[in-house]
């Protein structure tokens, strides 16, 4: 049954997955160009470029994972979830399999990022002390995408059709909370919440960690 769910999931989202994979594949090469592409000997251009494009990778992990979580639910919702509810398995098990299928498709762009990183590094001559961390970068991206996917997935399966509105309300609520604490002179409370959310081992800590392609 899982194989069927995985196959349908792949068929529904393959165009999107291919698009994300293409963008992340080109990202390291773009970083090299963005860094000036001038110092082909030392690889500093890749290091500089990746620093600039790092937030873009995190954004792709967020956006791609969000769409991957939302789309299959929307397809199910169009038929009022008749198919999953008619299956001889519990809802919890079905949701688990649906989740796993989506999570597995995230491996494809992560592999594309790894290959793109290897390709970019192969274009330059690294000095002895510098190493390529294409694999580590891809794993970091995969973990970030995984967390973003699970958050979007939870939001979608809890809030249903109102997921977008709820997501906006959550974002506005967080922004309002921080602004309110700031105006009330309780910045340290806001800082504590921010640290919990964005610092390791917080839920969004994976996005705060710096991913590098070339390092000592």
């Amino acid at each position: 049954m899982f194989r069927t769910i995985l196959r349908t999931h792949w068929m529904w989202t393959r165009t999107l997955v291919a698009g994300i994979s293409l963008v992340v594949f080109l990202m390291p090469a773009a970083a090299w160009r963005l860094g000036g592409g001038r110092t082909i000997l030392v690889g500093r251009s890749v290091a500089d470029g990746m620093q600039a494009l790092g937030p873009m990778l995190a954004f792709l992990a967020l956006l791609g994972a969000f769409v991957l979580a939302v789309y299959p639910w929307t397809v199910d919702a169009e038929t009022k979830h008749v198919y999953p509810l008619s299956l001889p398995i519990t809802w919890t098990r079905y949701v688990g399999m649906r989740f796993l299928a989506g999570a597995l498709t995230l491996v494809v762009p992560a592999v594309a990022l790894y290959l793109g990183g290897r390709l970019a590094v192969s274009m330059i001559v690294l000095p002895p002390l510098l190493h390529s961390y294409a694999g580590a970068l891809a794993v970091r991206w995969l973990l970030a995408a995984f967390v973003a996917y699970s958050m979007s997935f939870a939001l979608q399966y809890l809030a249903g059709r109102r997921a977008t509105v709820v997501a906006l309300l959550i974002v506005l609520g967080i922004v309002g909370l921080f602004a309110g604490l700031e105006l009330a002179g309780a910045r340290d409370v806001g800082d504590a919440i921010g640290r919990f959310l964005f610092e390791f081992p917080g839920p969004l800590g994976v996005f705060s960690e710096r991913g590098v392609l070339i390092d000592v």
């Binding site: 979830h81 961390y133 580590a136």
Partner: protein, 343 residues
């Protein structure tokens, strides 16, 4: 009014040493060698007096431009708040930070090390002049002048004792280096008593990514390359002929020098703190640091190089704990997702 009067008086006073110097200098040409030397000493003393008067004038000018509304003196450290008074909470953080820094210096580097902070004077300023306003940040500056070159970053409010402690440990490092003119120029503000686990890693990365192949060779462990790249007098050896470097480019940033000085402190211990004030036996900072640490320059370089290599590449690779946290949160959100079943 009183301030203006003081400034006027200081200006008048500044002329007096000039006149006295002129009067003393005239007979010096007719005096014998011994008395000329004495007069020379007096002229030098008067020149020092002139400098002090000028300093007073400058301080007055800054004070007039930024009225001093508040200040704090803790264990010999003066903190000024030009143009603004800060609340008790921030004041307590400053006080605690200074006391913690003093204790940390004495405990970790030997009793009496905290005397480095005696007489230190720095300012906390608020760019928008409103410490209680939303989204306001604070900046620390050396001395009275908020626009001083040593202005130190932005700090969110309320201030924390930990931030103040870190700043004071950096100040202590700066004041130690100021005892030796060569090292002061070599290290600048890049030396601190603060424990910085990433310093060696950052230094290694800076060396490895340098446009200078000599610096990159240093990162790879070539001692002769390190010696060349760390010698301010060997500018012609900083870059190889094949390197494409901008004119007047530095081979390595000051942070690399700071990590070398920190290694010297770790190697030399309390001895380093005393020896750094001794007259220099060389113009080369590496030799001065090694002498102060009680080792040879090559030993210091080897210790430094070993420290750089130990800094490792663990920063680039995600740790197991990192992955575990990601899986934990994913599982947590999956659990939430299964809580609601459509009807």
């Amino acid at each position: 009014m009183c301030d203006a009067g003081q400034v006027r008086l200081a200006r008048i006073l500044s002329v007096v040493p000039l006149l006295a110097a002129a009067m003393l200098a005239m007979p010096a040409s007719r005096a014998d060698a011994q008395s000329a030397a004495e007069i020379g000493q007096r002229v030098a003393a008067l020149a020092d007096s002139m400098k002090a008067t000028q300093k007073l004038l400058n301080a007055e000018r800054v004070r007039q431009a930024l009225p001093l509304d508040d200040s704090l003196v803790v264990d010999g450290v003066t903190v000024l708040f030009p143009g603004i008074a800060i609340d008790a909470r921030n004041r307590n953080a400053v006080r605690e930070g200074i006391i913690d820094a003093r204790r940390s210096l004495d405990e970790r580097f030997g009793a009496g090390t905290s005397s480095l902070l005696d007489g230190d004077l720095w300012s906390i300023t608020f760019p928008n002049h409103a410490p209680n306003a939303p989204f306001e940040r604070a900046a620390f500056a050396e001395g009275r002048d908020p626009s001083a070159r040593t202005r130190n970053g932005d700090y969110s409010l309320p201030l924390s004792a930990g931030e103040i402690e870190d700043f004071m440990l950096s100040r202590a490092g700066r004041r130690l280096m100021q005892r030796n003119a060569v090292l002061d120029e070599f290290v600048g503000v890049a030396f601190s008593f603060r424990d910085n686990e990433r310093q060696a890693y950052v230094a290694r990365r800076l060396l490895a990514l340098s446009a200078s192949s000599v610096a990159r060779n240093c990162a790879a462990g070539a001692m002769s390359a390190c010696r060349a790249v760390l010698n301010p007098q060997a500018r012609d050896k900083w870059f190889a002929p094949s390197d494409s470097a901008r004119p007047n480019a530095r081979a390595v940033p000051l942070g690399v020098h700071g990590s070398l000085a920190r290694t010297a402190l770790d190697v030399g211990g309390p001895r380093f703190l005393q020896a750094i004030s001794a007259p220099n036996t060389s113009d080369e900072p590496l030799v001065i640091l090694a002498t102060a640490a009680g080792v040879t320059p090559d030993s210091l370089l080897r210790a430094w190089s070993a420290g750089l290599n130990e800094s490792g590449a663990t920063n680039a690779e995600p740790t197991l704990a990192f992955a575990a946290a990601a899986f934990f949160w994913s599982g947590f959100f999956l659990l939430i997702a299964t809580r609601r079943r459509p009807r």
